[in-house]
Amino acid sequence: MMITSRNTAKAALFLILTFFSAASLWLLLEAEFLAITLILIYVGAVMVLFMFVIKMLDTDKSTLRAQFTRYLPLGIFVSIIVIAQMVLVLNAGQFDLAMTGVPEKHDASYSNITAIAEQLYTVYVYPFELAAILLLIAIIAAITLVHRNESRSKKQDISEQINVQAKDRMRMASIKPKSAKESK
């Protein structure tokens, strides 16, 4: 539905629906932390930005349709490769229950988030912190890229605005009033 929908906003909404379905699948697999984070990050943040962009863009449908046939062979080629890969990997029997074993069931008091936290902050501390630093660098890089041209941005200095005095903005001019006789 997401791919076939002509309306970009509707397509984005179907993508959100897909995320929700994926989250509910995770819930059924007893991974409630992952499910909630999926909704929080993808539905709550990423897709809102998507909707934002969609609203701002003026998508012209005729150009989209004109390019559809041009890119069709390439698209079919890529999708055949992807499908072939998936069939090869998933059919090979690597994900059978015989290979992975039956997943163990936990009782209601089992806390998913504690288990993840224990692994993340003990065994995998260094990879975790490396990833955090990597993300931080990415953020700083993005911000510096945006702020390269300092001249283009309009800044306002709030303290300067607040501290402005009447004499900075106004000039008192003493003009002699004309007498009543003169003005006539």
């Binding site: 909404l13 909630i36 909707m51 609203k55």
Partner: protein
């Protein structure tokens, strides 16, 4: 109390097998939550008009029923019998989906609220994350309403308010992180239980700046004055609600008030000890106030925060959009990050009764 109620329902319908009985119990729990919520929401509109009227030296509603007490019902019936108007060039499905998307998260988020000891609908282990996740879904109501109306003012209102909501969600997320650091749990029940033992054990003392940041964030998230840029009557008519009439508009309205009540509830749960009595641990007063039920304390504290909404609305002029953004990114965000380190330090040094 809650458990005995559930058991009695189980006994009442023994001829159902377990699964169906559970479904019925969940439905009853949901209804038992939603009906008081709707009544609370209706009378909140009344209280708001009365309180602000009082602050502005007016009378407020006083025609329908004694003291105007039936005014909310008159409003409800008026809303229900109004014609629903669709703009001709709007996208009808999305136009109707938008109020639903605003309303459903506002109700769904109540599922994890603990009203007392063991008195809740669902005891999620990740309930704080659930609150954040479901709360962020509510943004789509505004986005879609602005987009589907195919009109200028709704689009403008939706654009600026979504940008605001995303930004302040970040701030509230950081505030929640500090709470989680102290309570060392993301379960709302545990957060409240850790605050047991009198007014000095609540988290508002170690997290005082965070509490203020949270409350301002809550005002923004619920689109309340002085941050109600989504509507901003003097600037963009009615914002996203311009094209809505009748029940679709009422859904938006109810979603806003549900969110308001929820944010007040969350403030109480996180910083003011939830259902715990403020007199716990004080020798004489504890005995005197023992007869007061948990629920009363929770609702009492919550009502104070609801009153705070009206108080702030009557007191402050509307902020300019870029000033709200500056407040978020340049003041609150650094402040919350600094406070995370402060809380980490306090946790290491075991200061006070909180850690």
């Amino acid at each position: 109390m809650w458990q005995s109620l559930v058991d009695s329902i189980h006994n009442l319908i023994p001829w159902f097998d377990g699964g169906l009985a559970d479904v019925i119990i969940i439905l009853i729990k949901g209804l038992a939550l939603i009906f008081p919520l709707i009544i609370a929401m209706a009378y909140m509109t009344y209280a708001e008009r009365k309180v602000i009227g009082f602050m502005q030296l007016r009378i407020g509603p006083n025609r329908v029923g004694p003291l105007g007490l039936l005014q909310p019902f008159a409003d409800v019936f008026k809303m229900m019998f109004k014609e629903i108007i669709f703009p001709t060039k709007s996208n009808i499905y999305l136009f109707l989906l938008a109020p639903v998307l605003a309303f459903v998260p506002a109700v769904a988020v109540w599922a994890v609220v603990p009203f007392g000891e063991g008195f809740y609908i669902a005891n999620l282990d990740v309930s704080l994350l659930y609150v954040m996740a479901i709360g962020s879904v509510g943004v789509y109501g505004i986005v879609l309403a602005g987009w589907a109306s195919n009109s200028k003012y709704p689009l403008l209102g939706a654009l600026r308010s979504t940008a605001l909501l995303i930004s302040y969600e970040l701030v509230i997320g950081f505030v929640l992180v500090t709470v989680v650091m102290i309570a060392s749990s993301v379960n709302l029940n545990t957060v409240v239980e850790k605050q047991a033992g009198g007014i000095l054990n609540w988290y508002w003392i170690p997290l005082f700046p965070m509490m203020i940041v949270f409350w301002i964030g809550a005002l923004v998230e619920t689109n309340r004055a002085p941050f109600d840029v989504v509507e901003g009557e003097s600037e963009i008519v009615g914002g996203t609600h311009v094209e809505y009439s009748g029940m679709p508009f009422a859904l938006f309205f109810m979603a806003e008030y549900f969110n308001m009540i929820f944010m007040a509830m969350l403030a109480v749960l996180l910083f003011f000890g939830g259902w715990h009595s403020p007199f716990e641990g004080i020798p004489l007063l504890e005995g005197w106030f023992e007869f007061v039920p948990d629920l009363f304390w929770l609702l009492f504290k919550m009502s104070f925060f609801l009153f705070l909404y009206f108080w702030i609305r009557a007191s402050f002029p509307r902020f300019r959009y870029d000033q709200i953004m500056r407040l978020c990114w340049k003041i609150f965000l650094p402040l919350t990050i600094v406070w995370i380190f402060v809380v980490a330090l306090m946790t290491q040094l075991h200061i006070g009764p909180w850690f």
